[in-house]
């Protein structure tokens, strides 16, 4: 998991605090997160960077939950087979979730870990929040 990698890289830094980006329910029950920049991250991260990450996540979730020809086809086919195809086939949603997992890992490696931050995949928090862990700012090479 990404968490283990970055912990090893940073030689087990201590967690200073955690910031939670809550869900944005203004469009209903669709998975969407608030793009409001948390004040705790001001010293570590660009507002624009943060907004871009969250906006991309929102777009990916919208893609997963989109009601369109492809999802209807999948749904109808599933209904005709008494939903048994869910046992053997990976759904469109699951495929996009994997894509989201890869994107988060990528963002962590490129942007967040170098700044002492860690994004947690929202699926691990029940799609309630995007948890951003802030690690203590240590200088390089210091032991415990």
């Amino acid at each position: 998991m990404a968490e283990t990698h970055s912990l090893q890289d940073l030689q087990q830094p201590t967690v200073s605090s955690k910031v939670y980006v809550q869900r944005d329910y203004s469009s209903g029950t669709l998975s969407k997160f608030q793009t409001k920049f948390p004040s705790e991250l001001e010293s570590r991260l660009d507002k624009q960077q943060f907004e871009e990450t969250i906006q991309t996540l929102n777009n990916l979730y919208a893609e997963a939950e989109k009601l369109g020809g492809k999802s209807y086809l999948e749904g109808c086919l599933a209904c005709l087979t008494a939903y048994t195809i869910f046992l053997c086939m990976e759904t469109h949603y699951e495929k996009v979730l994997k894509k989201i997992g890869r994107y988060i890992k990528d963002q962590n490696e490129k942007i967040y870990a170098p700044r002492g931050l860690l994004l947690t995949d929202p699926i691990e928090r029940g799609l309630r929040v995007v948890e951003i862990t802030i690690f203590e700012d240590r200088s390089i090479g210091s032991g415990r």
Binding site: S26, G28, L67, E74, G75, A78, F86, T91, Y93, R128
Partner: protein
């Protein structure tokens, strides 16, 4: 909600609380795995379903989830199996000879469809929301506090959000320690927050929510067809036998199984057809049973309230509810507990029963 307990969760307090539980925890672990203190690695890595806090039972190593109260699922299955069994034994031979040989195939197909959708409704995670982690819960409590309440009364536990020009109130769930998303409700029987909560169905022994509503709907619709089909076949069978002045009693004596089927189908066809009709209306207006019963969007208050989740088109509503994308299970039953988190999860697990019993009273009062 008077005098309700308002416990602040202090994340700093959590580590200090873990030393008292070890005697309990050691006992608990000894029950599950032999020996082993908290600090030692367990013999085998534990899966998340083993420490799941809700009232659910798991089978096949977490693949199958049911509510702890089995309800009358065995009765439902039994009734269906018995009725169909009697149908194939008593009615099919006669009808194949006198009518058409399609009858057993149609009956068989419907039967298979009904049983599969029933089992899927019962064994699928309805859309359970995992409970908030202690850090999350503490953060929310802090936010509620800062909305400025220095009086002795507990701070408000609702949040308002505007969805499609409708004001929707989000309630705080004391058991799961989070603000419930819209359309989510806490089921007291299963002790879980379920997304797009419809109702807890004792006949299938599970909640009906976002993830298994389509299975449930397919189940009741196909069951209506099956019941109506069997009822029709039995009636035809008996009337054919009673022809030529022989009488109904003679027909029933020749085929006693048909009498049983007739009784079962007669009493269930009306309620099942009614239920199917009701749920078809709910699907077409994108409502849940919970919302319909509470009258959330019926505008009783005289205000102009409409359902903010409806797509304003019957066809699109039906497609969205029944053929929409299948959301994944959020509780990750078969994932492994990370070894550093298993301590925390276990201690939360022990703390929850004491808080949950009090909170349950609150929840049932709220809802």
């Amino acid at each position: 909600m008077k005098n309700c307990e308002y416990q602040q969760i202090d994340p700093q307090a959590l580590p200090t609380q873990t030393p008292p539980p070890p005697p309990l925890q050691e006992e608990k672990e000894e029950e599950e795995e032999e020996g082993g203190e908290k600090r030692e690695e367990p013999r085998r890595p534990r899966r998340k379903w083993e420490v799941f806090p809700g009232k659910n039972r798991f089978y096949c190593d977490g693949r199958i989830i049911v509510a702890r109260q089995g309800g009358v699922l065995p009765l439902t299955l039994g009734l269906i199996l018995v009725t169909c069994g009697l149908f194939f034994v008593f009615d099919c031979p006669f009808l194949v000879k006198h009518l058409t040989s399609c009858i057993p195939f149609i009956g068989g197909g419907l039967f298979v469809f009904v049983v599969i959708t029933l089992l899927q409704t019962s064994f699928t995670d309805p859309g359970i929301l995992p409970r908030a982690t202690p850090d999350e819960a503490a953060e929310i409590e802090k936010q509620i506090d800062t909305t400025g309440n220095s009086s002795y009364r507990p701070p408000p536990r609702t949040k308002e959000v505007v969805i499609n020009q409708q004001v929707v109130k989000l309630k705080y769930c004391f058991t799961c320690k989070m603000f419930r998303p819209p359309r989510t409700s806490h089921c007291s029987l299963c002790d879980n927050c379920v997304e797009r909560f419809d109702h807890h169905c004792p006949w299938v022994g599970n909640c009906v929510g976002k993830r298994n509503y389509r299975f449930f709907y397919t189940f009741i619709v196909s069951l209506s067809f099956l019941t109506a089909f069997i009822f029709g076949c039995v009636t035809t069978h008996l009337s054919l036998r009673a022809q030529g002045g022989k009488g109904l009693v003679f027909a029933l004596q020749e085929s006693p199984g048909s009498a049983v089927e007739l009784v079962i189908c007669f009493f269930s066809v009306w309620s099942i057809l009614g239920l199917s009709g009701f749920h078809t209306y709910l699907v077409a207006s994108n409502l849940t049973t919970n919302e319909d019963i509470k009258g959330s969007w019926s505008g009783k208050g005289g205000e102009d309230v409409t359902n903010p989740y409806s797509h304003k088109n019957i066809f699109i509503n039906c497609c969205a509810v029944l053929c929409g994308p299948m959301p994944p299970s959020l509780i990750d039953r078969r994932g492994f507990l990370p070894s550093d988190e298993s301590v925390q999860t276990a201690s939360v697990d022990i703390e929850l029963p004491t808080q949950a019993t009090k909170s349950e009273i609150n929840v049932t009062e709220e809802d």
